[in-house]
């Protein structure tokens, strides 16, 4: 599918970013449609819905910082698996995946 889609924390999203998937209210109604450029008001409404992460269309440019964030998040998720071989292997596979599948 679209390679440039990424899922980000709501706090990391600036107004003007384009939404990649429909956002739904808890009732199931569409809150914001995919393809919309998010305004500050929309981001606030999304926050009020209790949504914390959303999928947006990302520019390729923001790579390095994003890569660093992904890796430190993975390190945090795997913080209590030291010495467990399979978890260490899974960690490595996910780092590769987050880097866009480079072996």
């Amino acid at each position: 599918m679209d390679d440039s889609v990424q899922e980000l924390e709501l706090d990391a999203i600036a107004p003007g970013t384009v939404l990649a998937s429909d956002l739904l209210e808890s009732s199931g109604k569409v809150l914001v449609m995919a393809g919309t450029a998010l305004t500050a008001e929309m981001l606030e409404a999304v926050r009020r819905e209790g949504i914390t992460r959303i999928r947006v269309k990302g520019e390729e440019g923001s790579g390095e910082a994003e890569q660093e964030r992904c890796e430190s998040r993975l390190k945090y998720l795997f913080r209590n698996t030291a010495g467990n071989g399979p978890a260490e292997e899974l960690h490595r596979l996910l780092i590769a995946y987050r880097q866009g599948g480079q072996e």
Partner: protein
């Protein structure tokens, strides 16, 4: 240390909490039984589903949703079975039956239900994809993945104070949820989930998978429990629940070896789960 002991959950109070939950609709058990019974025809199940009006309305709404992108309108259960496939019908019926009543029961505790179901659906998708490699039925694996943390809803709904205490201990120790549960409650969500699954009359393999997904003794080769164990760890590592303090649990090496994921397999698995997750959550009404 009376403060500590206040939060112990004995069998009796657990049984009372389980008895207070709404009963499982009969059709759900029929659908689960049909997983083990190759004799059951789609025709026969369609006839049984047609007796449950709530389920019928839901299935037709989904079959006609944009997810399937059909031009012709689906108006009968038989058509819905054809469009959605038996596997999906079962999973939908399960998700609908559990998420409605049990979820509503737990909501007041402040549990993140959306995150709970996103993790459940991701685990189900992983389990469905791993099952073949681990010599297990795909449909059964999906259902077991979806329901593996059922016990967490029982604690949240039946014992909100205990739930808060577990959360506090888990955060202060930075340990796995099940370790905090054992310390505070004397029992963990998998054992509680198993009791619920048994009281609802779920098939044995499903009860064992719910009860044993963190227990090395249950993780036998080819078992549903071992598929769910690995799927759960992968779902945690994909970080789908929106839980800031989430962590990947320890993985039992024989399960990992049995799945035998190559580098390419793993990348495909991660991608499939991420691509299908939102659509499945939407389909199951759990955004």
């Amino acid at each position: 240390m009376t403060g500590q002991d206040d939060f112990r959950l004995d069998r009796e109070s657990l049984s009372r909490a389980l008895a207070a939950l709404p009963p499982m609709p009969a059709i759900v058990n029929e659908l689960l039984r049909s997983l083990d019974d190759p004799e059951t025809s789609g025709e026969e199940l369609a006839r049984k589903i047609a007796l449950d009006q709530v389920l019928v309305a839901r299935l037709l709404r989904i079959a006609n949703s944009s997810f399937y992108g059909l031009r012709r309108k689906v108006v009968s259960v038989r058509d819905a079975v054809f469009v959605l496939g038996m596997g999906n019908i079962r999973n939908l019926a399960l998700a609908a039956a559990v998420s409605g009543p049990v979820g509503a029961h737990a909501a007041a505790s402040g549990i993140n239900l959306r995150g709970f179901w996103r993790h459940g659906v991701a685990t189900a998708l992983c389990a469905g994809m791993l099952a073949g490699r681990m010599k297990c039925s795909g449909d059964g694996a999906f259902a077991a993945g979806l329901l593996h943390d059922l016990g967490r809803l029982v604690v949240a709904g039946g014992f909100p104070r205990h739930f808060q205490e577990v959360r506090r201990v888990r955060q202060s120790r930075d340990c796995l949820l099940q370790d905090a549960e054992v310390e505070v409650l004397g029992i963990d969500h998998s054992a509680i989930g198993r009791q619920l699954a048994e009281s609802w009359g779920f098939p044995d393999a499903l009860c064992v998978a719910v009860g044993g997904h963190h227990d090395a003794g249950s993780l036998l080769s080819g078992s549903l429990a071992s598929v769910v164990h690995l799927a759960d760890a992968i779902a945690h590592s994909l970080d789908v629940a929106g839980d800031e303090t989430d962590q990947v649990p320890w993985i039992y090496p024989p399960c990992w070896n049995e799945a035998g994921l190559s580098w390419a397999d793993s990348q495909e698995l991660f991608q499939e789960v991420e691509q299908r997750l939102d659509a499945y959550c939407e389909m199951f009404g759990q955004h």
